[in-house]
């Protein structure tokens, strides 16, 4: 049992939590960076290689597009359907072969990355699907290259959603990182297990919960602000009906729909 009244308790608690927090931030951070680098292009490619989209036939070859599309879809579906605990165990030999060991913060990054990438690819995929097809058409009509279209049209439009999705991804990596701690991966999860479970210190548990809560709040807050900065529509507070028109106009304008009096819309149903 741990003695809360002992003079060493609080300093020891402080250093334990500090080390655990740092380990969590470290492995989650590295896993997120790798996820971004790998997941972003995968997400763009998996949507782009769909039939009728901008990467349908890379190098002029349809089969390359189809092959890319199907392999990424397969990987994503596989990754998403395996429970994390199973994935972690399954990856032990791989981790050992790559890093020589499977315990510790470093090796924990691998399963965290593997679980986060499929999740993030889906997020990128959804964000890109939300981009108005008219914009692709406009870019095409201007004779813009694919790469330029990705940089100047797709990314600016999809960035706010991708940033918001990154917050969700980060939160779930933090979640999984606690599970890694249970099998010796370090971080706050391991603190909770070694002190809270094995030595019955509710103080440790309470602090771990608090730190994780603050961490998730901070991530969500910072990334939401960033998403707004990159163009996420900011909904106006609406207390009374009077505000409604202003808000409709705002939302309409955000969606690039003109809100001036349209000429009889029934005359022209266009195909979107």
């Amino acid at each position: 049992m741990i003695d809360i009244t002992s003079p060493d308790f609080w300093p020891e608690l402080f250093w334990t939590l500090l080390a655990g927090t740092w380990e969590t931030i470290y492995m989650v951070g590295i896993a997120m960076i790798i996820t971004l680098i790998v997941g972003l292009p995968m997400g763009i490619v998996v949507v782009g290689t769909e039939k009728g989209r901008f990467l349908e036939a890379p190098f002029g070859q349809r089969w390359i597009g189809a092959a890319l599309h199907h392999s990424i879809t397969f990987i994503v579906n596989l990754g998403r359907s395996v429970p994390f605990i199973v994935l972690m165990i399954a990856l032990i030999p791989v981790t050992r072969a790559l890093l020589g060991s499977f315990v510790g913060t470093g090796p924990a990054i691998l399963p965290l990355t593997v679980v986060a990438i499929p999740f993030f690819v889906r997020i990128v995929e959804i964000a890109i699907r939300e981009v108005d097809p008219g914009l692709f058409e406009a870019a095409e009509s201007l004779g813009a290259s694919r790469w330029l279209t990705v940089r100047r049209v797709i990314m600016p439009q999809a960035t706010p959603s991708i940033i918001l999705g990154s917050a969700t991804t980060l939160t779930s990596i933090i979640n999984f990182s606690a599970m890694v701690g249970v099998v010796g991966g370090g971080g706050l999860g391991q603190v909770a297990v070694t002190y809270g479970q094995q030595r019955y210190s509710w103080v440790h548990i309470v602090f771990v919960i608090l730190i994780l809560f603050v961490l998730v709040q901070a991530i969500q807050g910072v990334l939401t602000a960033l998403a707004k900065h990159y163009g996420l529509p900011v909904p106006r507070r609406r207390w009374f009906g009077r505000r409604r028109d202003a808000q409709d106009a705002l939302l309409a304008s955000e969606a690039n729909i003109p809100h001036e009096t349209p000429t009889d819309p029934s005359l022209e149903g266009d195909r979107k």
């Binding site: 002029g60 108005d132 008219g134 914009l135 058409e137 406009a138 870019a139 095409e140 009509s141 201007l142 004779g143 813009a144 290259s145 330029l148 100047r152 049209v153 600016p156 439009q157 960035t159 706010p160 990159y230 163009g231 705002l250 304008s253 955000e254 690039n256 729909i257 003109p258 809100h259 001036e260 009096t261 349209p262 000429t263 005359l267 022209e268 149903g269 266009d270 195909r271 979107k272």
Partner: protein, 341 residues
């Protein structure tokens, strides 16, 4: 100059097949404003998208300024049309504006225009000045750093026009560019397109479901229905064509119950101040009691044009004499209905 030759396009296969275009041929002369009108679903957008190869035909050939864009006629040397860098270059010479503007909402107005210049490979240093010059041309240089969402619909369309013309194309395509705008803004945008087309020597192909648009700026027009062009020509030609539906829609004179003993004659005129003097003189010379059943007059493309429907007593021979008497360059007349008995 745009040449569309025997173009067909079918979407889907088997039971779900939709024939969007059926053997469509059109010639859009260099420097003219050509309007394609028709109901929703007639195939107008599909036709327009063929011109810059956003879509390819299943049969037929499309040429722009003599260059083959698409060719689906295998007998024709097997040349299927341009792709890759050649297609991109051809598209730099063809600007396009859209019903919903299609501006990138998370980039500023000037960045939207710069994108067109980036697409042509214009060096960075020259993009900003050129983009601002284009915005100035459409009267929006002062809104350069705003987001499209801060602009009205008409202003957004002007940005769309600036973007389409930034690469100095010789062709401008417009897909219902004014259909989402109110009537006043529509007129402003049409006048802008007309002014720019004259100043920059553009060939304009626009599609619309509104006769108003044709009336305001088009030199020539084609009417589409169910994937076919059912009539086409200059407005003057169509106005003087008895069967022309464009003419009937431009100048509705109404259906009048025949009065016993009278024949009905239509007189159409284009490019004259008025035909009233002609009608009055004819009535006097032939000593007839003409009555006007209906008349429609419009300023079409800056000129007075119209149609008058007359009831003429005294039998078919008399009606024919009226037709002969009024006919001259700029005036066409025909007997709509012989004597009702």
């Amino acid at each position: 100059m745009i040449d569309i030759e025997h173009v067909s396009r079918v979407f889907g296969t088997g039971q779900n097949a939709v024939t969007a275009l059926q053997d469509v041929s059109l010639h859009v002369p260099a420097g003219s404003i050509f309007g394609v009108v028709g109901q929703s679903g007639a195939g107008k957008s599909t036709l327009l998208r063929m011109v810059n190869a956003l879509d390819r035909p299943d049969a037929g050939r499309i040429r722009v300024n003599g260059q083959t864009i698409s060719n689906a006629d295998p007998r024709d040397g097997g040349e299927a049309g341009i792709v890759g860098a050649a297609l991109a270059r051809a598209r730099h010479d063809i600007g396009m504006v859209f019903q919903h503007f299609n501006l990138v909402g998370n980039r500023t107005v000037v960045q939207n225009v710069e994108f067109a210049l980036e697409a042509t490979g214009t060096p960075r240093a020259r993009r900003r000045p050129k983009a601002l010059e284009m915005l100035d041309l459409v009267g929006l240089a002062h809104r350069a750093d705003d987001r499209p969402s801060q602009l009205s619909g008409g202003q957004r369309q002007r940005v769309g026009i600036a973007r389409a013309l930034a690469s100095e194309p010789s062709i401008l395509l417009s897909d219902e560019a004014t259909s989402a705008l109110d009537p006043e803004t529509t007129r402003q945008i049409l006048d802008l397109i007309k002014r720019l087309s004259r100043d920059l020597g553009l060939t304009v192909m626009l599609i619309t479901h509104e006769m108003e648009v044709v009336k305001r700026i088009c030199d020539s027009t084609a009417l589409m229905e169910h994937g076919r062009v059912i009539e086409s020509g200059t407005l003057e030609e169509l106005i003087g064509t008895r069967e022309s539906r464009v003419s009937q829609q431009l100048f509705p004179v109404g259906d009048h119950p025949p009065t016993p003993g009278n024949s009905v004659v239509d007189i159409t005129y284009s490019g004259l101040d008025s035909n009233n003097a002609v009608i009055a003189r004819t009535a006097r010379e032939l000593d007839l009691d003409l009555s006007i059943l209906g008349a429609a007059m419009e300023t079409v493309n800056g000129r007075q044009m119209g149609r008058t429907r007359l009831a003429i007593p005294g039998g078919d021979a008399q009606a024919q004499r009226v037709v002969d008497a009024v006919s001259r360059p700029g005036i066409t007349a025909w007997i709509v209905q012989e004597v009702a008995r």
